[in-house]
Symmetry: C2
Subunit: 294 residues, 2 copies
């Protein structure tokens, strides 16, 4: 039986465990023996209780020496330290992957810190969920696009194997280079997060905040949902994808200024340009959303 180690048992790590164990039971894949590692003893215990892992380990090195593949499911900035710690103890041929929302920095660290006999393949499930281990589910990755970014040392057999694992999660693998990934994800995830944070922050210390809260409805809730995301995760994302984010943030500010000018200049009785702008946005969003589900 193949052994797998999941490092970091939050929403993603827990869901990976649940999904792979379920697929193993269903006979979809040669079943894995899954060990979970987490710095928090509480999360370790919880993951075992939930059935997300077969074994809980609080000894990282021992667990690493005894596995065929490693999935890192930690915030991005925790990755280099873990790679540094585990690198000397990985078996030759081990597949190592991660789940962080940025890929260029991760790939640099993997190249720098892992020996050449390790197949590192960056990973990013576009599951779009927020929450902690409690919210983990076996079907979290169903119908999600799952980005895979093979490192230079990754052999084709390892890539093929991770490809299969991703399909068994119910997700669709997408091979993508790190720079393209980071640019695209900044546009549809990281900048929307910052946009949502700014919407909330502009209300801070407003004298009418109580009234504003009474009036806030599902529109506000949805538009700002990303602002409820894990601050550590987004802090790490922001720092590891800074250039792409800054560039899109400028494009975003320009769009807002264009809208501002259009509105300031609009005729009170009606302005066809403003309406056309809104119609275009509605159509554009529809195109993007519907391209997702063919």
């Amino acid at each position: 039986m193949q052994k797998m180690l999941i490092i970091g048992l939050g929403l993603i790590g827990g869901s990976l465990g649940l999904a792979l164990r379920l697929a193993g039971k269903n006979g979809d894949i040669p079943s894995f023996e899954i060990t979970g590692y987490d710095r928090s003893a509480e999360r370790l215990q919880k993951a075992a209780q939930m059935g997300a892992i077969d074994h809980a380990s609080d000894a990282l090195i021992a667990a690493v020496q005894d596995t065929h593949s490693v999935m890192l499911a930690t915030p991005a900035l925790a990755v280099p330290q873990i790679l540094r710690e585990i690198a000397p103890f990985l078996r030759a041929g081990t597949i190592v992957t991660d789940t962080a929302s940025t890929k260029a920095a991760i790939m640099r660290w993997a190249e720098e810190l892992l020996p050449a006999n390790i197949s590192f393949i960056g990973g990013h499930p576009m599951a779009g969920a927020t929450g902690s281990l409690e919210a983990a589910r076996a079907d979290l990755f169903h119908h999600a696009t799952y980005c895979l970014t093979p490192g230079t040392a990754a052999n084709s057999q390892a890539i093929e194997k991770l490809h299969q694992i991703v399909q068994m999660l119910g997700a669709t693998p997408l091979l993508i280079d790190a720079a393209t990934h980071d640019r695209c994800v900044a546009a549809i995830s990281h900048v929307p997060f910052l946009a949502s944070v700014a919407l909330v922050e502009m209300l801070t210390n407003d004298p009418q905040i109580e009234l504003i809260s009474k009036l806030a409805s599902s529109g506000f809730r949805d538009t700002t949902r990303l602002a409820a995301g894990d601050p550590t995760m987004y802090h790490d994302i922001s720092l590891t994808n800074r250039e792409a984010i800054l560039s899109w943030l400028d494009a975003y500010s320009e769009q807002l200024q264009a809208l501002r000018q259009l509105l300031a200049a609009a005729d009170e009785a009606g302005d066809a340009r403003l309406k056309r702008f809104f119609e275009q946005a509605r159509q554009q969003r529809q195109n993007i959303i519907s391209a997702k589900t063919p």
Copy 2:
């Protein structure tokens, strides 16, 4: 039996009809006899089929002459023309209300166009839904805050009556003046709409739009949901609440610039200020959302 006329049978008009007819059947209120008017014969017929109205009328003046109360459920800029048309034919003592998302312009038009023997009370259900008549539901207003802004000619009996009707919809009435309403709603609804439009528009003509669409997930979908709203409705909102929107739009741009500076200046290894900013936003959002449901 009290007669009511609903003008405009979209999502809101249709849902008002469904909710009031249901409440009448349940004996919650003295039942209304509801007539619906819409410019579109198709919508009229559909509303009747759905059971949203008792009678369909394509003769506005005749319908107005024969009613005790009028609910306008049209986009904001359609309101003055309708008030102008119906004003000479309203019975003395008729209650007139609207459902537009801005109140100051509406209140000005009502003062200007309606005779002093009409009780105009501006209304705005914070139901947060988007869609057309097809999406109308009797429970659309359940647990929603429903703003009421009495005009200077509105008598207390009329205000009390509309208050009761709002409660029968399952909503919570909130008496609020027009300027305060418009400022608060610009912050939690109109500017989030523009923020969402700009997020979509910045992707227009991007060479990687196909890839971006594949990667877009629920985060993008939620953050941009408002951009799918009715362009005519938002066009009218933008023009009738321009000053408040421009002011919040500037506050929003300032927040984005503050975030940009923080990110550009952050230490690659980690920046406590950035993380604190995200933590604050998460907490602030939680406070706003939870204040809604006591």
